[in-house]
């Protein structure tokens, strides 16, 4: 395991955290191995270690939520023999990324009502409809909602099954959160809940900032902030490399 030294350090940090937590009477402390995910040109996704400590028994649930976005869910129908996007429902405020982790199955930890209010589990993500879709029958909306979650799951952005959290001797816990390469940039949050007898007794939230850095970030900003200049630069580069190619291979 190449993460060993880091894990060791984190465990020490966690132990220190436990000590200070019990000193201040907090039942739950948690932190991340990194609060900053840098998307570099070599980025293929990354793992962030979430660790912490609980004071006494209980269940730990972690919910990671990405920045909100509006999403159009489109339904294909066969028209004149070909499949065409025929109908659209627009959802607002859907997290770009959603992951949940727990030490045992969510159904065993708490009731559906609490999961619903706390938005624990992909099926409980609050969805807001665009104004023009609010009069539609609920059964129809439910199909689109399922499709939304299914598509997000297929692209690796929603995890429907909770990841495993391991708790060591009722005290230290840790879990690995995987961020895929197609994640959006922006601010994410990791909320850690401590459940006792089905009730959330404490919750702590930590932010994670995901941003592009380096050349990739500069190109992206250039393209979005000075798009006319970027377009011209793209043409100049193309003309130059085309000319270069023509000259280099003239004699060959």
């Amino acid at each position: 395991m190449k993460r060993n030294p880091a894990t060791f350090l984190l465990l020490i940090a966690a132990l220190v955290a436990v000590a200070s937590a019990s000193a201040r009477g907090q039942a739950l402390v948690a932190d991340l191995s990194s609060h900053h995910v840098a998307i570099t040109t070599g980025f293929t996704g990354t793992d962030v270690l979430l660790f912490g400590a609980v004071d006494g028994e209980g269940d730990v649930v972690v919910v990671i939520t990405g920045p909100p976005e509006s999403i159009a869910v489109r339904n294909k129908q066969r028209i004149a023999g070909i499949w065409v996007n025929a109908d659209t429902v627009e959802f607002q405020g859907i997290p770009n990324f959603y992951a949940v982790a727990s030490n045992r199955p969510l159904e065993e930890i708490t009731s559906p009502d609490i999961r619903e209010t706390q938005q624990i589990g992909a099926e409980h993500i609050a969805t807001k409809l665009a104004a023009e879709d609010r009069d539609r029958p609920a059964a129809e909306i439910a199909l689109y909602r399922e499709a939304l979650i299914r598509n997000k799951q297929n692209s690796g952005l929603f995890s429907v099954e909770p990841e495993q959290i391991s708790i060591i001797s009722d005290r230290l816990f840790r879990t690995q959160i995987h961020f895929p390469s197609n994640m959006a940039t922006g601010s994410y949050s990791a909320v850690v809940y401590l459940f006792r007898d089905g009730e959330a007794v404490q919750a702590v939230s930590t932010p994670i900032l995901v941003e592009k850095v380096g050349v990739g970030a500069e190109i992206y900003n250039f393209a979005h902030q000075q798009s006319a200049l970027y377009g011209l630069a793209a043409i100049v580069i193309a003309v130059f490399s085309g000319w270069l190619g023509g000259v280099i291979f003239r004699k060959v």
Binding site: E69, W83, S227, Y230, A234
Partner: protein
Amino acid sequence: MHFYLPIAEMSVNIFLILAMGGGIGFLSGLFGVGGGFLMTPLLIFIGVPAPVAVGTEANQIVASSVSGVIAHMRRGNVDFKMGGVLLAGGFVGSSLGVVLFKYLQGLGQIDLVIKLCYVVFLGIIGGLMFVESARTILRSRSVSASRGKLHQHNWLHGLPFKMRFRRSKLYISALLPLMVGAGVGVLSALMGVGGGFIMVPAMIYLLGMPTSVVIGTSLFQIIFVTANVTFLQAVTTQTVDVPLAILLLIGAVIGAQFGSKYSVRLKGEQLRILLAVMVIGVCAKIAYDLIVTPEDLYSIAPLIAH
């Protein structure tokens, strides 16, 4: 080795992109076509969002047309006057195309329109090319073709604003190349192609240009039309991924050299029938995808807030 594309916002394998550029470059060198009609669907196939594929491919075609046109200019095979008129139409058409692209994107129909354009135009061009080259091969053993007229005269030649194109040996209405340029310009913006595969037959059969100047002139005007598409896509949709275009380009320039060396070993009509088969193949694949029931009838797309 992976590379994170800043505009497409995805991680790709560098060698896969280089190989794609090389493969398509080889074919474009072999057949003397730009290869955009193969590259754009291929990019979409590996997961590049359709708008990024179209915008980036336009950028790459600028480069490949520049290297192509150099050789033709040296041999004097470019009719600049005709190119200029085609270009004027091309600017109007491609600008309209970019506006149409953005509108269709908002409706959620852009993927469908791109695919339908591919099916219709590749189907027509591939079919015509196949029939024509098959006929040539069958006929070649019996008769040497009669001289005949330089080109057919029909109602198109009765249009006003006649203009003399000396290098093409034509005296025709300027409206004709303007319309051809505009039509191909729209397709260029919508399909992410240079449009050579439509432009070349249109120049030969519609305008009656001599084949010797057709490819050089078409390449010349494609440079400017795709540059216009690149610029407008960069401004309106921010979908031009320059690093991706450069990677494709490196592969394409090298591949094209091998392709053009290989092409001398094949006869013109053999090349054309091979190209026709390939064009029909791409058309059939896209048509199949439109007809077969998709795995998931629902799809999602983020709405970009402005």
